[in-house]
């Protein structure tokens, strides 16, 4: 499904060069559910951003489904992200000006899908996360757990092959966190979605199939 070969990421400021990731080799199989763990600032989110094609590595190669991404143009990467990848962020990142249903529809706007079909797919996604009754609410009218469920619905509405979750339960209490985790687990089980989840929570990580640990920008085995 996804291969990272010798991936490095450095940030250059005026005088200092900071290495966020160094020589990362990682393969993720189709349908696998892995968690990425490590202390704050170790490079977990940077790794996730590179896997999600939001960020480009300073060095190394990314291969998705046998195709090398480093040679892709920005337009192709955008399309790939739209069609293949879904994101769940720790702080939800819902658009406060839009209603729940419009937030969930957002990834479909950038595909050639009719408005009617978009609405139907968004309603189905909201049903999966148990929020059919909140479609016309605005995000700030929902609890944290409900907002994260909207974010999950948005991530899965386009039926992505790869779901990337950056500490999806980090801003939630344990009960809400557990609910979100159950939804993510059911996606993996029922739809064979490949999932990469960054987490600080050892208990959550243990519920995944494999744990990848990062320390000081390097994978620790």
């Amino acid at each position: 499904m996804l291969h990272l070969t010798n991936i490095s990421k450095t940030y250059q400021t005026d005088k200092i060069e900071t290495t966020a990731l160094s020589n990362i080799d990682l393969s993720i199989k189709k349908g696998e559910f892995i968690s990425v763990m490590g202390p704050s600032g170790c490079g977990k989110s940077t790794l996730l951003n590179i896997i999600g094609l939001l960020d480009q590595p300073s060095d190394g190669q990314i291969t998705v489904a046998g195709q090398q991404i480093t040679s892709y143009k920005d337009k192709d990467i955008t399309q790939l992200r739209n069609e293949k990848i879904g994101f769940i962020f720790q702080s939800f990142h819902l658009i406060s000006d839009l209603r729940v249903i419009d937030n969930v529809e957002l990834p479909l706007l950038y595909r050639k899908i009719s408005a009617k079909k978009r609405r139907q797919m968004a309603l189905e996604a909201l049903e999966k996360v148990g929020l059919s009754a909140r479609t016309l609410h605005y995000p700030n009218q929902l609890s944290g757990g409900q907002q994260q469920r909207v974010a999950v619905a948005r991530a899965i509405v386009g039926k992505p092959k790869l779901l990337l979750a950056d500490e999806p339960t980090g801003n939630l209490d344990s009960h809400m966190g557990d609910e979100i985790m159950k939804i993510i687990e059911s996606l993996h089980k029922n739809h064979e979605t490949t999932i990469v989840m960054v987490t600080h929570d050892e208990a959550m990580a243990k519920r995944t199939e494999r744990i990848v640990r990062v320390f000081d920008g390097q994978l620790v085995h």
Binding site: D74, T78, I95, Y110
Partner: protein
Amino acid sequence: MLKNYLMTAWKVFQRRKFFTFINLFGICITLTIIVVATRVADNNLYPTGPEKNNEHFLVISKLTLTDDKQQNIDSSYPGFKFINDYVLPLKAPEIISVYTKSNTISSFIKELKIKQQLRRTDANYWKVLQFEFVHGQSFDQQQFDLGHSVAVINQHTALQYFDRTDVVGEQIDLQNQRFEIIGVVKNVPPTELNAHSDIWVPFTTLPTTAYRHQMRGNFQAILYHSNPERLKDAQLEFINRLKHEFVNENSEMTKAFSYADNKLEEMARDFFGEETSFETHIQTLIIFSILLSLLFMLLPSINMVNLNISRIMERSSEIGVRKAFGASTSQLVWQFIIENILLTLIGGTMAFSLSIFILNGIEISGLIPYVEFTFNFRVFAVSLLMILIFALVSGVYPAFKMARLDPVIALKRGL
């Protein structure tokens, strides 16, 4: 996609009322000034009164005489002799009308001194300009030739003298001459330079014939042709005549410069023309007008650019999310540009309403006597164009700047 952009924009405006208000206020004030200026310029270039057929005529209203070395320059209105010798013989125009500029005269009505504009004209004047008669008619060629003391007055003058407009057959005294009123026309605003006056009489009623021998004076001429294309021939014929046939006996001022201009050319020459050149500088006027409009829009645009960047910056999380879920940079650019165009169109609509209110105020105040500002498709189209330019100038840069944000940075900023 467009529908979605518009819906998103509308929701953003509703949810961010303060920003929307500040933006709309700035847009509305700027565009009101532009719409008012456009309407006033349109009123001058495309009159709706007697000069509404101005595409059919050219006006000669200036004469510059110089010596051979062009050291002495003397500019004034042409005199009758100049028009008689060099304008009336022209063959290209179908009709040539000769008339004086309007002069201020004083009259007494019920022991009250009032000032009025008096213009002396020939009979052709009433053929080339499209006056609207409320009562009576204009004087004809015979009345003109015989120097009949007849007058056409406007409604305002009729009301001043007689408190009514049906005054054909009444008499008025002007500059120690008594005239019989034979026609009453609708008021003409001073923006119609060649038609505006309060009273019109034949110039053959002038007390002396001295004017017939004057090269400089206060006369003007209109060259009329039913086919506007043919006016170019009249222009050329007039210039050639001046270049090759001008003779000013017993005077060292041996060269003459004069022009048969349409409205735009006249305006261009007033601003940029040189007295001793036949160049109209019409392109300079157009470029200058465009630059002036852009410059006027630049400062509020810079302000709007700042506002827009702040407005969009607040939404950096949205930019990050949209990019993460597959929005391309160009799609985001369009989204923000369309938001700005929609906002500017709303501001433009408000500006349009406000400008109608202001122009009505100018009409009622009498600041420009008799003027009537009516909106037409042309004013609407030009105003709309200005509004769109304003929207693009103020919206494109922030849209590009923000849409090119790195998604990771945009998401971090949005925290």
